[in-house]
Amino acid sequence: MKQRLVLIGNGMAGVRTLEELLKLAPDRYDITVFGAEPYGNYNRILLSPVLAGEKTIEQIMLNDEQWYVDNGITLHEGKQVTAIDRTKRIVRAADGTEEKYDRLILATGSMPFIIPIPGKDLPGVVAFRDIQDVDRMLAAASGKGHAVVIGGGLLGLEAANGLLKQGMRVSVVHLLDTLMEKQLDKPAAGLLKRSLEERGLNFLMGAQTEAILGKDKVEAVRFKDGLEIPADLVVMAVGIRPNAELAKQVGLHCERGVVVNDTMQTFDPRVYAVGECVQHRGDTYGLVAPLFEQAKVCANHLAELGYARYEGSVTSTKLKVTGIDLFSAGDFQGDDSTEEMVLQDPGRGVYKKVVVKDNRIQGAVMYGDTIDGSWYFQLMRDNTDISGFRDNLLFGQAHLGDSGHGDDNRVAAMADSAEICGCNGVCKGDIVKAISDKRLFTLDEVRAHTKASSSCGSCTGLVEALLAHTLGGEYSQTPSKKPLCPCTEHNHDELRTAIRAEGLKSVRAVMDHLNWKTEDGCPKCRPALNYYLLCQWPGEYKDDNQSRFINERVHANIQKDGTYSVIPRMWGGETTPKELMAIAQIAEKWNVPTVHVTGGQRIDLLGIKKEDLPGIWGDLSEAGFVSGHAYGKAIRTVKTCVGKTWCRFGTQDSTQMGIDLEKLTWGSWTPHKFKLAVSGCPRNCAEATIKDFGVVCVDSGYELHVGGNGGVKVRATDFLCHVKTEDEVKEYCAAFLQLYREEAHYLERTAPWVERVGLAYIKDRVVEDAENRAALAERFGLSQQFAQVDPWKARAEGLDAHEYSPLKRVG
């Protein structure tokens, strides 16, 4: 028999938990839901646009009644649960309805805080919490008149804006002298107030409400200082508090909210709690993102998977008032131990403040120009060391020149014919049209429909800005926690952790264990999983050919006409007449149409038919060449200059250093391609400062540089450290490479990886911590024992022969 699961509270957090659970274990439970409101589940955060007349109730419904039917869920609408018998495991509603449970979820949400003053119960005094409140406000607004909103926080201002749009005159009363003091500092609050005043809102700051006056209904509001103002409607929006009444009544441990652990369990292990009613590690949450994270964790445990943990959330705020751009996150006030970076441009109505401690962002508040809000938020959540770009931080991500991150105004000003995506030739007009005609909401959808930003990705920021601009408030960015691909809920880091912790050793095992949503994955997740497994279990994991992109599967680079290119390794970019003659003879023998010298100091033989690959490899192998891995997410080349052997400026033997590094690292698979270079002096002829790992020889030893690349977004390396000996260069190189192999996301080059985790972190692991450096280098060495096998020789000798011959020839 199925277990019985009862959910008390038919709101966003509770129902999201069910949705997550149904994805993981659709048949585990018989599910029953009690909801006090007589509706399905709706999007409470969009009540403000409903009040403002920008949306209808239908548009904000998340799960209509049919959804419950379709999923076999019993819904008790409009029934408030008043008792729980935890011994017999029975839930009882006010009307006598009873349900038994094996597992119970409390998602009772929050209650508006009503100030205990005379007149608070008069008709015409409303809170701003549910559809009923909105209906009451709309009814009152139809008679126009004057509304008084008590509370100048997020909720109060959204209510005031809505009522103003409905044609009422509106006064906002706030106890303090700063609006939204929990989300804004004084300068930002001042800008906000001015802009709202321009729209027609009236403010009474520092005003303490003493009584609401009226006989049969609201007539006026009186303040401590004796002032009285007339009112036809009073909205109490001073805050919310967790609704833990039921939990308290049945003896569950509560403080401000229902206390839960990291698995969302209350002190009764059969009872879980999620949402605004919860208190977790001392914090309560009233924003939607943390509630959804909680829902995910709770569902994971209800499905008895048992590996997810909720560790608290960092939240950010955006005000949903059309035309006002405002963002805040984290600790934006700062204190004696923090530094503040401020940009103020009163002319443009722009204010930005970023609070920094030890080169890490603690919080940010922005007004007027919030395009970089999600970037700061991401840097804050990832705890990224910002020392590398501190001087440009306030000017935004666009100013780093690394991602073409556009801004809203910039895209708004662009002509429809302006090209956004250079790879696929997609113009602004095409994108905007696709977004509105096809009702696209996410970056992935825009990519699928228009191809914009689906190739090199450098215009991603512009496309996101276009989405935000076209959709207005409907577009929500979701920083971090992005799943690897639509086949799974898990992100890169979670997958790597699961592979390691659960000892998963095949692509199939990962997909089965982590409830993949597709039969056998997709071209995004399979190669990623294959790499993660290969990296985690060297020597043990058997490479899955079919999860390799064609180039890596057949060890050559596919060209536009279906032929392949072959690039043999030339250690450190050095060659000999004998080698060159061998290459020349082989190229003639196989009628190679084009021979080209590459940027990485190699010779590229182009236009090879697939069937000819094993033959040409056999010849190359006989002449002493191995694969150059120019086709792989792998160690590509080590480029060098001639160094002190010949050059009058050379300080060290850079060529030999390059050869040694290439012999050390070749054959290794990496998250993305990895290039090295060694320059013999700071003139840097080998261009070591735009490589993933670059060495610049100096008289006193070697400077090591990391995280550079040429290509779409040129990024110069960061200086890692200076070392004295050749052996140190090799150890540091192996350690850095292994750290990248173990921790970067698949298809993330070193440049974005270094920016994501911060150079300081990499220095910590590779430079400061000698023990860890040695351990990393040792793990790299172990993995190389199995990796340094020439794939060309093996295939020339017959491995994977089916790849290189047709199934059949006809006629």
């Binding site: 997709c522 079919q546 020839r809």
Partner: protein, 125 residues
């Protein structure tokens, strides 16, 4: 010539090999004078055959990653339905489909493409 074999030849059907000659989630090519035909094998051993030319820019579909009943073109990552030859929406296009059947583990392929693929004459590259 055996009678059965003769009928096969008349209908332009040929035996191209065993299912096990193609890796699971992989493909092999049948080379004909009218161009290559890609023969795919899915995870549960279903076999499909399509003109080895992506409707986008003619990429060799046989070299792509097979997932479910789809293949991703190796050149620009268009996804093509193996059973219909149609590009996965929102992309539009079609790779001609060839009738194929499996008998006793052997693959029989017709060299006459199904009709109904409007763009079966994909641009030659």
């Amino acid at each position: 010539m055996q009678q059965a074999e003769k009928t096969m030849v008349e209908n332009n059907w040929i035996d191209v090999g065993q299912v096990s000659d193609i890796p699971k989630l992989g493909a092999r090519v049948v080379r004909t004078k009218d161009g290559d035909i890609a023969v795919f094998r899915t995870a549960d051993d279903e076999v499909f055959a399509l003109r080895d030319q992506c409707p986008h820019k003619g990429g060799p579909l046989s070299q792509g990653i097979v997932h479910g009943k789809r293949v991703a073109c190796p050149l620009h990552d268009w996804k093509i339905h193996l059973d219909s030859g149609l590009a996965v929406a929102p992309d539009e296009g079609c790779a001609a489909r060839f009738p194929v059947s499996v008998e006793d583990g052997r693959i029989l392929l017709s060299l006459t493409p199904d009709e109904g693929c409007p763009n079966s004459n994909a641009p030659k590259v």
